[in-house]
Symmetry: C2
């Protein structure tokens, strides 16, 4: 009777169901950083790499490389659309209009391209390497991670019947709703959706954001996903990442410049951005040494994001440091973003409430929490720890120490040199699950 013949024919013939539908489908901070790189480092060459820290999951046994390449080529064929550029130009971000320069937007629309890449298999893992100008490589991070993450999802879903899929999603939705009901009890809580890179799928992330808006109202500060912010009139959230201090450290010519680079990046950043965008990420080479050695103007920044240290400890340390520097912690912002789930968010909110403006950046365990939802009890849909890290900058190795030694990256000898220069000690933090 009521058959949509065109749709049926398309469904059994289509070549590609795209995972990344728009170049805006990335974290907002990538666009801020892209403008920063375009302006300050337009000629620097870098390499970066997608790897899976959850080595027990052998991705190459699930994801056909040819299909991943098809998806990557689809992304490489995308362009920023006119309406998207107009939105970036005309929208207010963190209360500021014209955060993107006209020349940058013109370049973004006309000249932006993604770098070349290679996809190889190694010891059961898929390794994706990007190489080119920093402006061409940087944007691959979120697209690449989201592609691998959703390819893994699709491989797992392909083993389920239609009814099993229905049960799977019903359970995941119920799990999400239970989290919303917990959070609704605390109306002052502030949460941003930060889960693009390791999401179950784009459509699931969109569903999650819509449910959050309905359930949480003003407790949802916004989403880091620029496309979802654009499509659903939400605030685009996020400022910057480890990529910047790592690159500036790699570009330093001696140990003294290396040590200074962690503050130099802040100086450069505040030439471009102000206000709520002045959120520092002090853990790249160890938070404690960063705060101890910071020039006084660093304490004027709006807040910090803690991404590897126990956020209770990191927050206390930040509040004490602000007090010591004569600043009022109550006017500063603390953002936790490392593997949070609903109970962490509730406890952190309660702990810091009234002492500092706390917000949660909720990622993987928001947009990819299918733990316990598989109708046959399998674990194939549980999230894994996918990362994309800078490997070299201007031909030199890139290093991150982090507050959790399990999250450090770079060649062993370089890590040792960095530890010497920054005087930070390796601390084994929590096991990295996501």
């Amino acid at each position: 009777m009521n058959v949509n013949f065109a749709e049926r024919a398309h469904n059994h013939n289509w070549k590609l169901d795209p995972i990344v539908r728009s170049l805006l489908d990335t974290d907002f901070y990538k666009l801020l950083m892209l403008q920063f790189i375009w302006k300050n480092f337009p000629k620097i060459h870098v390499t970066s790499e997608v790897t899976n820290r959850t080595v027990s999951v052998r991705l190459s046994e699930h994801i056909p490389i040819a299909m991943l390449v098809d998806q990557m080529e689809h992304v490489r064929g995308l362009r920023f659309r006119r309406s998207e550029i107009i939105w970036l130009a005309g929208n207010t971000f963190y209360g500021t209009r014209s955060i993107f320069e006209p020349a940058f937007l013109e370049w973004l629309e006309r000249d932006f391209r993604l770098s070349d890449y290679t996809v190889t298999e190694h010891d059961g893992q898929i390794v994706v390497r990007f190489e080119g100008l920093w402006t061409e490589v940087t944007m691959w991070e979120v697209y690449g991670l989201a592609l691998v993450s959703e390819m893994k999802t699709r491989a797992a879903l392909s083993t389920l019947s239609e009814l099993e899929l229905d049960v799977l999603y019903a359970q995941a939705k119920t799990k999400l709703w239970e989290k919303m009901e917990r959070l609704r009890e605390v109306p002052e809580i502030r949460i941003s959706e930060f889960g693009t890179r390791r999401r179950h799928s784009f459509l699931w992330q969109e569903y999650v954001v819509e449910v959050m808006r309905m359930a949480l109202g003003p407790s949802l500060s916004g989403t880091s996903n620029t496309f979802l912010a654009y499509k659903h009139d939400l605030e685009a959230m996020g400022t910057n990442a480890h990529e910047l201090p790592m690159a500036m450290a790699a570009l330093a010519n001696d140990d003294e410049e290396l040590h200074a680079s962690q503050y130099r990046v802040l100086e450069l950043w505040q030439k471009s951005y102000g206000g709520e965008l002045l959120i520092m990420l002090p853990d790249t080479f160890g938070t404690t040494q960063f705060l101890a050695g910071a020039p006084d103007w660093v304490a004027d920044w709006t807040g910090q994001r803690c991404d590897s240290k126990d956020p209770f400890v990191a927050g206390d340390e930040y509040v004490a440091w602000l007090t010591e520097r004569g600043r009022d912690a109550k006017k500063k912002r603390l953002i936790a973003s490392d593997g949070l789930d609903v109970e962490d968010i509730l406890r952190l909110h309660e702990y810091f409430h009234g002492r500092i403006r706390f917000s949660a950046g909720w990622g993987t365990l928001l947009t990819n929490d299918f733990r316990g939802c598989h109708p046959r009890g399998e674990t194939a849909l549980e999230p894994i720890s996918l990362v994309c890290k800078l490997m070299t900058v201007g031909g030199r190795p890139a290093v991150k120490l982090s507050d959790n030694a399990r999250k450090s990256t770079g060649p062993v000898e370089e890590i040792a040199r960095y530890r010497r220069v920054f005087g930070s000690v390796a601390v084994m933090g929590a096991l990295v699950t996501v």
Copy 2:
């Protein structure tokens, strides 16, 4: 892009979304009883009435009477389809072919009609009264109950947004799946779906049956819904209801005939049906007196369904009676069907396992368990206790005593007379919730 214009246009124009889609969408026992009535009581006039025992829910404030009438007229316009009649003729029911006589099927296809009715409002309730030949009135029971039940559902759903509806169904599906996971732990368990009359909706009942088949495999004995049995190649389950002993009691001309009528109905039934269809329903006028006064041949029947007495007590009583009558209880069947949920089923199975062949007839709390699923915490989707009972037979009042005095029906003075004749005492059982 991919718009099905015909579907969209239909969706915003349609006159009626039918609740009952086929005359087969009824409990299988209604068809067995219809053949019985057609054969033995073709001239008897009866009246029956749909009422809501959950008086706290004021149905007339939610269900527009005109819309209910539209749905009833739609059902009255339905005919048994050729393919349905062929299926009734050719299918095997309880291992028996040709359970329906050709003459009956011919009558069903050509002459079957539903009686006239009136719909009125009384004290916040909707009262639907049916009047006509017993063969015309009897089939209204399940259609009428299912219509009122789904109209109530639709009224409650109309207050929810699309996303809230999605959350509602996700939670209901999860709740259903959790029940399935509990039952899967006991592969020997046997369950029939008995939830047509008080279902959330037809489509939800169909979903439940499909999930049960996937999750439970052979533990799902079948469904009482004839249309679902036909559509999904399942066993059609069910035998007979209180309607028959109530009618034969009403037709009795004196107290002696009245007392004998409860066995007379079994005699008549076994002239038409055998084997697994010989399931008695001993609680119409009190189980204890029924068993005590039963002629010996009654103990040859295949089993009993307990529908108002505590099933642990009723089962023990039946096993003891069978033993006393020299029959092997292990070869008999015990069916519980009164307001069961998953825990009751598991406990009853464990209690009777190895002593008697136990099966659960799972109704309202299978096909309409939305308790706790409303995204705003409202109770509008919780099931209510809708019933459709014979009021008069051949102009005389119809009476049910039941093992639970809360479930007795009929005029007070008639109930008193029946209690005297049957010597059964009024026992207050559990509160009737569904």
